[in-house]
């Protein structure tokens, strides 16, 4: 018992130091990650798996993508005064201090805000991705998605050298994350109505095939990044960063188990018209969403409160 407590001590110390203002920043960052990735991933899903009018209507991406992008934009703007407030000691007066706001806007954080903000505005074009405007709207949405992902590379570890290579590969990594997260809501929606049976099952099967190499890449990159940032495996158990990362990896393990369950059991059961297959698959995707939310919360806590 005492050994377990001593192992957890760095994390307990960090939790004790985390004030209300920081928790607010963590929650807003997690919500921003979620909404931005749902918007970006929704565009990818619509362009890769869209085309069937009934499925497109059930997936509801034409409203989901602009709505998620709008929420992400609001949260992005909220992060600005929250960061200024934290830098000034965690007060609302500091949050609206012109000097601190200018300081936050100056440099990488300001560039990230402008780039991500422009991308999220462009994602509103997904609203009109049909009829004769389909081509330009899809192009604008894709550009918006790319800008949002690019914005993530402006702050943090990817700014180290060699910057171009790190940025390109981080984009690939984030694109894969967005592809997975952005698919969950449309997959949940299209697996609901029984009348969509055949085409929905086809999309679910195709998603399983396409997602497999993406997930494999995420595992390789995640483990390697953890090893590099912690400079070995020992800090996993001896630093607050390592312990939160371990927790995140554990939740990711559960998420992968659910994804495997969906691919190899629940989707084949749906295709074979097994009883209650539809309900089980939707429950499983719902659990995936909860686990993704937990992972994003842990990621936000990790990036906001500590460093390797």
């Amino acid at each position: 018992m005492s050994t377990a407590l001593s192992l957890l001590q760095p994390l307990l110390d960090l939790l004790a130091q985390t004030d209300g203002w920081t928790w607010l920043r963590v929650l807003v960052a997690a919500a921003f990650y979620a909404s931005a990735l749902v918007a970006v991933g929704g565009v990818c899903f619509g362009l890769v798996f869209g085309g069937n009018p009934a499925l497109d209507q059930a997936a509801g991406l034409r409203t989901l993508v602009p709505a998620a992008a709008g929420v992400a934009l609001a949260l992005l703007l909220l992060q600005w005064p929250l960061q200024a407030g934290f830098l000034g000691g965690g007060t609302w007066a500091a949050a609206f201090d012109p000097g601190l706001l200018a300081l936050v806007f100056d440099g990488a954080t300001g560039q990230r805000l402008l780039l991500a903000g422009s991308g999220l505005l462009l994602l509103q074009a997904f609203w009109i991705v049909s009829g004769r405007w389909r081509g330009p709207a899809a192009a604008a949405s894709l550009l918006g998605a790319a800008l949002v992902l690019l914005a993530f590379t402006l702050v943090g570890h990817s700014t180290g050298a060699p910057r171009a290579l790190l940025a390109v590969l981080l984009l690939l990594h984030l694109g894969a994350v967005a592809f997975w997260i952005g698919a969950l809501i449309p997959l949940y929606r299209i697996s609901g109505p029984p009348q969509l049976g055949e085409p929905a099952a086809h999309v679910l099967q195709r998603f399983g095939l396409v997602a497999a190499p993406v997930v494999a890449g995420l595992i390789v990159a995640g483990l390697w990044l953890a090893w590099r940032l912690l400079e070995g495996w020992s800090p996993l158990l001896h630093s607050a960063y390592g312990l939160v990362l371990l927790l995140k990896l554990a939740v990711l393990g559960l998420l992968l188990a659910l994804a495997g369950l969906n691919r190899w059991l629940l989707v084949p059961a749906l295709v074979a018209h097994a009883p209650r297959a539809r309900q089980r698959l939707r429950a499983s995707i719902g659990c995936e969403m909860l686990l993704v939310a937990l992972i994003l919360l842990l990621t936000a806590f990790l990036t906001t409160t500590t460093s390797p």
Binding site: Q17, V48, Q83, F86, L87, G88, G89, G99, L100, L103, V104, G107, A108, T109, R112, L154, V155, G156, H157, T159, G160, A161, P162, L165, L166, L169, L172, H173, A176, V210, P213, V214, A216, G217, V220, A221, W224, R228, L229, T303, T304, S307, P308
Partner: protein, 122 residues
Amino acid sequence: MNRLKTLLKIAPAALALHLLLATPHLHAHAQPEGSLPAHGSTVSGSPNRIAVWFDYPMRLTLFEVSGPRGVVPLTQGPGRDALTRFETSPATPLSPGKYTVRWRGFAADGHVMADEIYFTVR
């Protein structure tokens, strides 16, 4: 569609390339390298200087010392320029007791950093 599938298939290979090429170049955010008085130390009498230094430039936005009598007035506050060392002095000698140095700032990579340093004056 086929092109997209090909791209997705080569994603793990590209990430493996990331592993091979980028490994030696990653670095962590700017970290506090040390402080004066040192974290957890006990000093005899009021220290003349209170300082903190970092491994990469940091734009300090808050540097606050508090003790048994509340916030300690300092002779100089952080100027928000990027620096690797910040040094100041208590405006009046510190009385015996436990003190906390709380600082916040911006690292060069855009990350907000913060830490607390504790020392005791005997």
